[in-house]
Symmetry: C2
Subunit: 288 residues, 2 copies
Amino acid sequence: MPEPIYRAIADDLRRQIETGELRPGQQLRTEIELRDHYEASRNTIRDAIKLLITRGLVETRPGQGTFVVETIVPFVTTLSGDPQTASGAEGDTTYTDEVIARLRVPRHTPPEVGIHQAGSPVPATGELRLPEGTPIVSRHQQRYIDDIPWSLQTSFYPMSLIEGGATRLLRAGDIPEGTVAYLREKVGLKQAGYRDTIIVRAPDNVETAFFKLPEDGRISIIETRRTAFDEQGTPIRLTVSVYPADRNQFAVNFGEVPAEVADPPSAAASKQDAGSDASADAEQELST
Amino acid sequence: MPEPIYRAIADDLRRQIETGELRPGQQLRTEIELRDHYEASRNTIRDAIKLLITRGLVETRPGQGTFVVETIVPFVTTLSGDPQTASGAEGDTTYTDEVIARLRVPRHTPPEVGIHQAGSPVPATGELRLPEGTPIVSRHQQRYIDDIPWSLQTSFYPMSLIEGGATRLLRAGDIPEGTVAYLREKVGLKQAGYRDTIIVRAPDNVETAFFKLPEDGRISIIETRRTAFDEQGTPIRLTVSVYPADRNQFAVNFGEVPAEVADPPSAAASKQDAGSDASADAEQELST
DNA sequence: GCAAATTTGTTCGTATGTATT
DNA sequence: CAATACATACGAACAAATTTG
């Protein structure tokens, strides 16, 4: 048997989808009809459909049927733009402004504050380069767009920042001007640069529940880790954000990029200047 | 039945893996033994294992057994660093140097050249903003590290660049100094900036075969699209690269980032200066 | 609002094929 | 070659979700 039957059936259905014979949103024939059509057992048909589900081509709805997926309009997170602006030297637009400009309604929970000790269970220990046992403050938020769960975000700060006067970090609740501006004004701490790492991995149980992902784990999670540094190169913050891969994409701008490209094409309304200051928004977004 | 049996079994096995009761590389009990242990049918055990496979926790080897996955050492692609350098104004280190410095052995096929007409089947049409029917040159490469398939990359250029004198773009084969430098010297075209977009999606058949991915499509593909612009804001190149998500991650540096962080921690050898010029390598890498 | 029909989801049993040791 | 272990395929029954009459 060179090619398993279930895979041959999946290939045939995939071809129909890719050629447009089956259009997005359209219902496939039922498992029983497909069983008769392909002269295979229902279980074999179901194996073929499972393969198409994993590849993101179809979805099943119990009691209804199997449907060709309709593409979600992705939300674009700009990780950067003009690095000077993104470094937190200026920039007064906020993440919320950015999202509104794209005709979407953002919302986020007030940060929950936690206190940890540097060590293996705290995911920030390596990045913040703190010795074992050093206190670390975490600020955690859930973020929504159009009431759809969009991202989970946790920032970690060395407790020494609070001892230096940035006491609001310890209080649960928003810091409207953003923590980058707050730390600059309160402690004189200037964010000189940052490094983002981007990985793709399977969701854990918390993420599956929050994002309402299918239980079979076929949707990946994109995790960004932003380590921010002051002018001495000391890490001052780690922000870990997770996004479901099915409704998010990321963008990075460098040098001179035309405004109409740097500013996503979704909603061209508002924002006269645009240009490369979208970075400030993303920075705002990434500093809980 | 609140929770299906196969999911309860998967949860139990996942717990054992996460608590270290089952260590990476360790073999699970066979399906028959698990069937007896959980008092379920072998098919139900297999459903549970399928779920763990999708979540990337275990892998099966026919004739051998089921094993807890061992983490792959990921290859880190730096999308940026110092934007001035990355813009192609200077930088003489190459992608190959970068990889060698990390004690890995890179290899890539000579570019295959193709000629297309702007229009819906050519994926560069939108980004290059060319009218329907305009000729486009593509250069496609397969790239390996340590003989493992690492990425597929295709760059698209407007044919007008060749007519302006950059004839080597049409010849299959390497352009050792990189196309950014070549275009600057030959046509006086300066790359003033670029925009990267990053999306995660399911693999297609070509990618599944090249990367030797499991046929069930559980490993996602990370696709980066880099649109480069000249000083007038005209798009001059689109480079599309695809990477399997199970062995790749990405990094972006902004502003001042300490050298020991900006330079990946894998192989600390060689490279005295390091700093933020790793960007030039990535840029080189991304210009076929 | 309820019952029936439809459709997918879960679980079992069984048989045979393929890969590895 | 034999034994072991996973892969494919079939058939059957009942459960759960949804729509329809």
